[in-house]
């Protein structure tokens, strides 16, 4: 994506990776207090090249190459934020965020509450997450439950280039800490982004979105599973079934009103994510939908996700990750009641 020469104006076909790169560029341009920091984010441009070229254009003081020290990176970012900066930290991989977990959960999430609102920490933690890249544990994990479970953090994840471009800018502007999860297996997916559109024209950061209307069954996903949802809906349509698809976009806070509205019409719900289903986001969603839409449900809420194991061997990951077959199977089950 680094080699893609994109005019920085007008409507462009961009990959998610390039959209993130341009979104971060805009954030750096818009506010001199914005800093990027992380391992290899500067000269190398990041392990996935998301920050490619930014140090060259904004300097070593705005785009910092830090030592290999996740706890130190996040802790230092907190200190910077306490004094008015808006740091954006890159964790190279999902599993690499765990060495910083102490700082994220014990300091970043709690400081505003602890200080009774006197300290705000506008820190963004960017984490490429999810599997499907032929790698193993540490490099393919879905840590969203840990972060979404922690009050004080907000957790969002884009699934399209347009969302990537705007959501990363909105996250930087948010006065709360935001864990920004990037579906790394989708970095190269392309879509149109209007680079002239102001951030204010984008949808709210913490809103979910129905992105395909349907009548028979609601299917909810986010991040890397949005593509799976699309494929599932196409295949279901061939069988004469109309799926309504929802992209959650935000995992904390959850915006479930559009899901309730949808389920009240379709009577069926399937929730899809790569994270293990055991106590995962789908468990919370199922509980809330059951409470809110009990009289509308034609079947129990079905869940498709990772199994209750560590992330498996790379040659087995296709069995671990939700795919078209498993989603359609779950849809079928909602019709079996």
């Amino acid at each position: 994506m680094a080699k893609q020469q994109i005019p920085l104006t007008g409507a462009q076909q961009l990959t998610i990776g390039k959209a993130l790169n341009l979104g971060l560029r805009r954030a750096l341009e818009d506010d001199p207090k914005v800093l990027l920091m992380g391992e290899d984010v500067g000269r190398l441009g990041g392990v996935f090249r998301i920050t490619d070229g930014l140090q060259k254009d904004f300097g070593e003081d705005r785009v910092l190459d830090s030592p290999l020290a996740e706890s130190g990176i996040v802790g230092t970012a907190i200190g910077l934020a306490m004094r008015g900066y808006r740091p954006v930290c890159e964790m190279q991989f999902d599993g690499f965020s765990y060495p910083a977990f102490d700082q994220v959960t014990n300091q970043l999430a709690k400081m505003h509450y602890r200080s009774r609102g006197r300290i705000t920490l506008p820190v963004v933690i960017r984490i490429p997450y999810g599997g499907g890249i032929g790698s193993v544990e540490h490099h393919s994990e879905s840590p969203e439950t840990y972060y979404a479970h922690t009050a004080g953090l907000k957790v969002v994840t884009p699934a399209t280039p347009r969302d990537a471009y705007f959501m990363v800018q909105q996250a930087v502007r948010c006065d709360d800490p935001v864990v920004f999860l990037e579906p790394k297996a989708r970095y190269y997916e392309k879509g149109e982004v209007d680079l002239d559109a102001p951030v204010a024209s984008a949808e709210p950061l913490f809103a979910s979105r129905v992105f395909r209307a349907g009548t028979d069954c609601t299917v909810v996903g986010y991040g890397p599973t949005i593509r799976v949802l699309r494929e599932s809906a196409d295949a279901a349509a061939e069988d004469g079934r109309s799926l309504e698809l929802v992209d959650l976009r935000s995992l904390s806070p959850l915006d479930l009103d559009p899901v309730y509205e949808s389920v009240r019409r379709t009577g069926r719900l399937v929730v899809v994510h790569e994270a293990p289903t055991n106590l995962g986001p789908s468990a919370e969603i199922a509980a809330r939908v059951t409470s809110e839409c009990f009289y509308s449900l034609e079947a129990p809420v079905q869940r498709v996700g990772g199994f209750n194991t560590p992330y498996p061997a790379s040659k087995l990951e296709e069995h671990f990750l939700p795919d078209l077959d498993r989603v359609l199977d779950a849809v079928d089950r909602t019709f079996a009641y």
Binding site: E60, D61, L64, S66, P67, A69, S71, G72, V74, G75, T76, A77, I78, G79, L80, A81, M82, R83, G84, Y85, P99, D102, Q103, N106, Q107, H112, Y113, R114, S115, R116, G117, R118, I119, T120, L121, P122, A151, G152, K154, C174, D175, D176, P204, F206, A207, P253, L254, D255, L256, D257, R288, S291, E292, F294, Y295
Partner: protein, 360 residues
């Protein structure tokens, strides 16, 4: 921020604190006695169940508190540990606000939400106690980086205990500070014990200040029972830090009581406890000033009476300050609005059933 290859910056200004004069020597004593009486009063309030949770006292650390705090400029930032009451007082936070915080009351430094371990006061640039070992070390490093960005002559002083020198974040932070020439002084308050584990049992290099060598950082060890020695050492360290040379200072003092108020310190022998009491820094410093003609018996009694009256008033103030209201439970979890924020109080149903029993 200088890049990793750039030279340290020029000193931005000379140290502003003069060498301790007689007035300062007496001020150290007043400060030490105030901390001593305050902590004794806090321990009593704890046993009276006025203070809950955990409560770590600065008893035995008074000389370090007094010397360190006096060496800071008002614009410097101080990050503390969970053993921070004395530093909060010495930084200029009113004793009644510190005591009220211990009592968990709304007039406390943190509105009753911080308690013993999480005091925070932006006005005095007291950037918090931290309830987890070493949590503050990377944060202080970041605050120093912010000073570097903004420009200006402030510095950060980051307190930590001897046990903290064994956690990863300590090393990550010192490396960053040295690499980026940050205006920060890390002060290891070495009281010889991490809870009940001695420094020698826990640290392969028990001369903790020597760890700075791994980062080509200046360092020193100083007698933490001598306020003037601490004062001078912190001034020297701060001068270096303001010139872009971070510093690791180790102060050595005793911990007269247990790790926290509830710790009977049974791991310490009777002889060890007796030796600690005999080396009591407050008493030793009084003898020293007395010998120098700066303190008289009358003045000792007067200072003691002043401190006792101050902490009694602080305890009375704390006693009469209101508890936080339960309606504030949900405040400040986030800085920005949270869609669908439920704000349910404990015991309220997750999804209230409408009066007619039928959801909309």
């Amino acid at each position: 921020m200088p890049t990793s290859t750039s030279a340290p910056r020029r000193r931005r200004r000379p140290p502003t604190n003069p060498a301790a004069d007689d007035a300062q020597l007496l001020a150290f004593y007043r400060q030490m006695v105030l901390v001593r009486r305050f902590e004794e009063r806090a321990a009593r309030a704890y046993t009276e169940a006025r203070i809950g949770g955990y409560c770590h006292l600065n008893l035995g650390e008074e000389a370090t508190v007094a010397g360190l705090a006096a060496a800071l400029d008002p614009t410097d930032y101080l990050f503390a540990t969970y053993r921070e009451h004395g530093y909060a007082l010495a930084r200029g936070i009113a004793p009644e606000r510190v005591m009220a915080e211990l009592y968990g009351r709304t007039d406390g430094v943190s509105g009753g939400w911080g308690g013993s371990m999480h005091m925070f006061d932006a006005d005095t640039r007291f950037m918090g106690g931290y309830g987890i070992v070493g949590g503050q070390v990377p944060l202080a490093t970041g605050a120093a980086l912010a000073i570097e960005y903004r420009g200006g002559g402030e510095a950060v002083v980051c307190l930590l205990g001897d046990g903290t020198t064994n956690i990863g974040a300590f090393h990550e932070s010192l490396n960053l500070a040295a690499l980026w020439h940050l205006p920060i002084v890390y002060v290891i308050v070495n009281n010889g014990l991490g809870m009940g584990t001695t420094v020698e049992q826990a640290s392969a290099e028990p001369e903790l200040h020597r760890r700075a060598a791994a980062y080509r950082m200046d360092s020193a060890r100083v007698d933490g029972n001598d306020p003037t020695a601490v004062y001078d050492a912190v001034r020297t360290a701060l001068a270096g830090a303001r010139a872009g040379r971070p510093y690791l200072l180790e102060t050595v003092s005793g911990r007269l009581k247990g790790h926290s108020v509830v710790d009977p310190a049974k791991y310490r022998s009777r002889a060890e406890a007796a030796a600690l009491a005999a080396a009591d820094p407050v008493a030793a410093y009084a003898v020293r000033l007395h010998g120098a003609g700066l303190l008289t018996d009358e003045l000792i009694a007067e200072i003691d009476a002043d401190a006792t009256a101050t902490v009694a008033a602080a305890a009375d103030f704390a006693e009469h300050s209101p508890h936080p209201d339960v309606s504030t439970l949900f405040d400040h979890t986030y800085a920005t609005p949270v869609p669908n924020d439920a704000r349910r109080l404990p015991g309220e149903p997750l999804f209230p059933v409408p009066a007619n029993g039928v959801p909309a």
